[in-house]
Symmetry: C2
Subunit: 340 residues, 2 copies
């Protein structure tokens, strides 16, 4: 089969790779229906994370089960399934507490390389969620979004403590930030302030439920949030970038006792303990336990209530995966959808 290999920063190639096979009896093999490029893939692509050797890449996936190992009980060949960026057993104390990304037996899917024609999924019963039937083509982008970016935006909103009636600010207008807007709206937020200076992204944020757009950044952005909230601050802020500037903006925008959910992998973020103390902010972030939310998110998609796949504004054949990376790196695309 063929799949993507990251050879060096800026150098992704579509190449022949070994066909995946059942290694553990809890594995499943899926034939990929769709995969995509994640904002977090760009940390490697841009060389911000060290790239030590050529390696498979990609961690978002959905497809048809081809084969399962002898210990797989609930997942069956022929099912259409979605999983998250960590395989998880579903039975350890962390999984049972809803933090599957901390699973005692977790496997990072990026190592297995989901930007490929087929994929081995470890711990299939714990990891994969099947849809009611095999979906039609039009639903693929929405379901694929649930594999990471929708669930990650959703976790940002949950971690920030969004409640019915909340005033929410979202820092970051990438796919995760935009789907954080959608999540906040679905969780009942009354006002959702999207911070974006890019017109197409503003438009999508509005479609997803943003009631206000703030184009200012940094302290000017904080001042605008303050204006919009009568000097009180937002009840909840979603930090969906991972930079120091974005985190500072989030913490300064929240009301005393309000929550910040952060899902951008921190790069150079300094947390000021005194500032956090005196602002009484409640902070939670991390690798989103997308698996916790998957059944609910699939249901919202299946019934047509949400259309998270709108974040894909570039569709390419998987063979052109390199162009997907380049387009996102140069911000020509929000998110690239790849069809094998």
């Amino acid at each position: 089969m063929r799949g993507a290999i990251l050879h060096a920063p800026g150098d992704v190639r579509f190449e022949e790779r070994d066909d995946p096979t059942i290694v553990e009896p809890t594995d499943a093999i899926i034939r990929m229906s769709a995969t995509c490029v994640c904002g977090s893939d760009l940390w490697d692509y841009r060389g911000i994370n060290k790239v030590r050797e050529a390696a498979p890449t990609g961690h978002e996936y959905c497809g048809i089960v081809e084969e399962v190992g002898s210990d797989v009980r609930t997942i069956k060949p022929g099912q259409f399934v979605i999983g998250s960026f960590f395989a998880s057993d579903g039975t350890c104390p962390h999984c049972r507490a809803g933090y599957q990304t901390a699973c005692a037996n977790r496997v990072p899917m990026a190592v297995l390389g989901a930007q490929a024609e087929a994929l081995r999924v470890p711990l299939a019963d714990g990891t994969l969620v099947a849809t009611p039937e095999v979906p039609d083509e039009a639903m693929l982008p929405h379901l694929l979004a649930a594999s990471d970016v929708l669930g990650t935006g959703w976790f940002a909103a949950v971690a920030a403590g969004v409640l019915p009636g909340s005033t929410v600010a979202v820092v970051g207008d990438g796919a995760v930030g935009l789907l954080g807007v959608l999540a906040a709206k679905e969780l009942g937020a009354e006002r959702v302030i999207a911070m974006s200076r890019h017109e197409p992204r503003q438009k999508l944020a509005t479609e997803f439920g943003a009631t206000h757009i703030v184009t200012e950044r940094g302290d000017d952005g904080v001042a605008r949030i303050e204006d919009l909230t009568d000097g009180i601050g937002a009840d909840a802020v979603l930090e969906c970038v991972g930079t120091d500037e974005a985190m500072a903006q989030a913490i300064k925008s929240v009301r005393p006792g309000g929550g910040v959910g952060f899902v951008g992998v921190p790069h150079g973020v300094n947390l000021d303990a005194r500032q956090m103390f005196y602002s009484i902010v409640r902070l939670q972030g991390g690798p989103a336990p997308v698996r916790r939310f998957l059944p609910e998110l699939i249901d919202l998609i299946w019934t047509g209530r949400i259309e998270p796949g709108k974040v894909f504004d570039l569709e390419l054949p998987l063979s052109e995966v390199a162009e997907g990376y380049a387009a996102m790196d140069e911000r020509r695309a929000i998110k690239a959808f790849l069809r094998p």
Copy 2:
């Protein structure tokens, strides 16, 4: 009247000060029944916070109302009242949200100096809570504890997300940490692990509800918590010190998705954003909104359910306030109770 003045690090004197008078129509004047020395007073006393000029000191108080301003509606002369270390109006959005220490009109009581025979309390209706009747002498220590340390330990437990059945670890065996143990127990924790190496404090922690004592610190302490929780980590950790070592110990002791409540004013604390991300810890701290909890805490004390005043292991006449500071500084006493 007479009261304490901090002249310089290590130099507290009991001196003649002006009698407090009604300045604003929302003020009350109270005759002090009891006051005390706080662990946080030691930051100044030890010169860790800069002491710029001689100033009144102390922020914990309870006493009998002597006089009220013309706009005071609910508080009456003759009542026995308790307030917190920030005066708060009780009506602004932050007060209504239960974060009275972020009150738009807050006044730090330390500036007014509660280690004194009488005290002006601003925003009396918002700040003060009256007991059902004037209490007898034996109840004074318990009620005074509610002015800060009990409410602060309580907030640490609430911020850490202690729930019925939780396994809780408490870092810090000062008065706040010990009352954090009591709070965790009252909030329904099943197991409360007190981290202490001081025998009298271990004993008090056990009286307050600790089920386990851990004497190790740092990574050894973390390893003990891991042992006690089958490798999972505590559901909630209360950080009641404010040092970098204590915070690191707290964050490393909590399970993924668990909560850390921190109420020690941070001094030299470095928060590692990546570590916080990958541990998925939920962190909230700050100046405890003690006022939110006061009615409930007074009720628990009044009905004899809790005896937080046991943290006072030294009683002195107010005139010997300097010895109270010295005894706490040298860790000869957990907390010094001062009677005018």
